[in-house]
């Protein structure tokens, strides 16, 4: 399926969850609660179609064709 991630087209396997996507993009393995399995902080958040998806819901949130995802993190600023 095709989604939009941070404004650009992104291909994902059908039935992929937010966890799958975050793990794929960040290269980190995530546990069921949406935390990094390596024990470090992940430091990212996800909005799906302009709604924030809480970390605890990542695993249960299945993405659909055409979804618009924003994946954000802390950067220098302010």
């Amino acid at each position: 399926m095709n989604i939009t991630l941070n404004g650009t087209a992104h291909a994902l396997s059908d039935g992929a969850s937010v966890t799958t996507l975050v793990s794929q993009v960040t290269g980190r393995v995530l546990d069921h609660s949406g935390q990094a399995s390596d024990g470090g902080k992940l430091g990212v958040a996800v909005a799906r179609n302009s709604e924030v998806v809480p970390r605890s819901q990542w695993a249960a949130t299945t993405l659909a064709e055409g979804d618009e995802l924003e994946l954000v993190t802390a950067v220098q600023g302010g």
Binding site: G27, K41, G43, V44, A45, V72, A74, Q76, G78
Partner: protein
């Protein structure tokens, strides 16, 4: 150890029940590299530092969030780049999820030319965020009326600007800053416009609880040295405020007695 120096040691900044030994809050914008930024932050002695929220980029090397955690610096996400209350609330929600903190430095700016806060959107966003359980650090104009409004809406701290962001013009309206301080029951943080160390000292002398700056350090010719300068400036200004300055006089006042002078032929 004298009583005075013991007092200084325990003179911590308390915001939302969290104690900070340093009254210097740093921003992270404008630094050319993450390593250089880390060194400047360490030199400044800051314990609280702002970050912006932007799209994740896999190409980015190193994590700012990790850098702050490694140095035991608490993170204060901001809503930089938001022009509406709606965008600011969304950005704050994302920051809360990403960084696991309900603290947010609320910036809702009117336009890119002035980068001045939009008072109407700021009030709206403060109300919404307080209702959603955020601890709002409201970046505001140096307007005593607006500052009090924000406090009454539940802001955790008010952060009046000294001058527009990045200008380094210092504190353009010291009288208003003093007025804001005198009426506030929440911490007042002088934010934006700081150019050099004396500006930060002045902010503290005016009674501010802390100073927030970024550009003055990150874009200084020697950011590490400037970070250290600000560390001392904030301490010096705070001490001077507590020590109580002499009143201003119109005429000179000799500090040496006239009696007992030697006489010369």
């Amino acid at each position: 150890m004298t009583a005075a120096s013991t007092e200084v040691r325990t003179d911590s900044l308390v915001i939302d029940g969290v104690e900070f030994g340093s009254r210097l809050i740093m921003g992270t914008g404008g630094a050319p590299s993450l390593d250089g930024l880390g060194a400047a932050l360490l030199a400044s002695g800051t314990e609280l530092t702002t970050v912006a929220m932007r799209r994740y980029s896999p190409a980015e090397t190193g994590s700012l969030f990790q850098l702050l955690m490694d140095h035991n610096i608490r993170v204060l996400p901001n809503t930089a780049g938001c022009f509406t209350a709606k965008d600011a609330v969304m950005t704050a929600e994302l920051a809360r999820e990403a960084l696991e903190t309900d603290w947010v430095k609320l910036e809702v700016i009117a336009d890119e030319h002035t980068l001045l806060p939009d008072a109407v959107e700021l009030v709206d966003a403060t109300e919404q965020l307080v209702n959603r359980g955020f601890k709002v650090f409201a970046y505001t104009n140096d307007d005593p009326v607006l500052a009090l409004r924000l406090e009454n809406l539940g802001a955790t701290a008010v952060m009046p600007l000294g001058a527009p962001i990045g200008t380094g013009l210092g504190i353009l309206n010291p009288h208003n800053i003093e007025l804001i301080v005198s009426r506030a029951s929440v911490p007042v943080v002088l934010d934006a416009g700081i150019g050099t160390a004396s500006d930060a000292a002045l902010a503290m002398e005016l009674g501010c609880d802390a100073v927030l700056l970024a550009t003055a350090v990150t874009r200084a010719q020697n950011p590490v040295q400037m970070g250290e300068a600000f560390k001392h400036a904030v301490i010096a200004g705070r001490l001077a405020k507590q020590a109580g300055r002499i009143p201003r006089r119109e005429h000179a006042l000799a500090s040496s007695a006239m009696e007992g002078r030697a006489e010369f032929l």
